[in-house]
Symmetry: C2
Subunit: 208 residues, 2 copies
């Protein structure tokens, strides 16, 4: 191949920053774990939180669990890409996590609540944003009840928030339904979205 | 589920019009046949041409072959979505073909040369457009020579056209490389693009 045509045949494929969001209880964590099990080379950004660890959660996989005091120290040191107070607890994305993940050259997947995703879209406009939604409100309620972590008031609050969040799904690039009896379908769709986004003709590298 | 939340959980998934384009010799036909073999419910739009049928080509699958006179009659009757003269022969997309395909409710795949794709983008702005490109110019030349249908002058003309067409690949939504030793990868990517586009949050129906 001559040098003059080299440029014509160069196809850049920069790593992606993929944001997976959706209402509380939709199954974001399960979806991430299933995506991970497919064995593709993804890096996951782990959120930091000041809330108590649930029995099934693993430190460093589901979240980094820290005290409120520690979290506030890190806020003061400007160590978060974004952070917020969710249901009375801090949640945030440590900048170091994202930088390390992007430096690996692999695609980076970030799980984040809907208000956090809106902030990430502003900071990283070429992030690929996916809104994960349940089949129905009944299904969402069933999942929240199953957790057994919510008081009746907490449950009502989460349902009301989910309704508001569902209205914001068109702010995201993609909407994926987490069908209760076909969860593999949602995993397939997330993986297809990532594969397709790598083929987008006008993709530019993510800069943080 | 209450009626008030029904609307929140409604996810429209209109059928897609997918345009596959790329330089002559890149392997568009092979790619379409392989996509067809994956057994997904696609409808294919068959192009009409006035050029002679090649020995390996099948009437109604690869093209509809008609005489120049017949083609000109159909142009006069406004029966083409778009048509053009390519290397001295007519090629065009019969409107009836596209309407029938879209009416099936399945996704419609259309193979078309680069100048035709530009016209389709104007007529159908929400078509999903994919530019299929070869690994290298050497590979493109190898495929054109293998066809044994080109005179030396014809070959030179196709190479020059391919260079111009390669420069237009960023006009398309997606760029897929047809790697000579990994053709399945390109098929996987085309299918992933279609699956992902069905999840796009702001997709609207194709109107012709």
């Amino acid at each position: 191949m001559s040098n003059s045509t080299d440029e014509l045949y160069h196809v850049p494929r920069p790593a992606l920053l993929v944001v997976i969001s959706g209402p509380s209880g939709v199954g974001k964590d399960t979806m991430l774990n299933r995506t991970r099990e497919r064995g593709r080379q993804f890096k996951f950004v782990v959120t930091m939180t000041s809330r108590a660890r649930r029995p099934t959660e693993v430190e460093g996989r589901d979240y980094f669990f820290v005290s409120k005091e520690k979290f506030e120290d890190l806020i003061a040191a400007d160590e978060f890409l974004e952070h917020s107070v969710v249901y009375g607890d801090y949640k945030g994305i440590p900048k170091s996590q994202v930088r390390e993940a992007m430096a690996s050259g692999n695609d980076v997947i970030m799980r984040i609540d809907v208000q956090g995703a809106a902030k990430i879209r502003q900071i990283v406009p070429n992030a690929v944003t996916i809104f994960l939604m349940p089949d129905s409100e009944d299904e969402l309620i069933r999942r929240l009840v199953e957790r057994k972590t919510e008081s009746p008031e907490g449950l009502q609050r989460r349902i009301a928030t989910a309704r508001d969040e569902m209205k914001r799904r068109y702010e995201f690039d993609y909407v994926v339904v987490n069908h209760v009896n076909h969860q593999d379908e949602a995993v397939d769709e997330i993986i297809a979205i990532i594969q397709a986004e790598h083929c987008r003709s006008r993709r530019t590298p993510v800069l943080l």
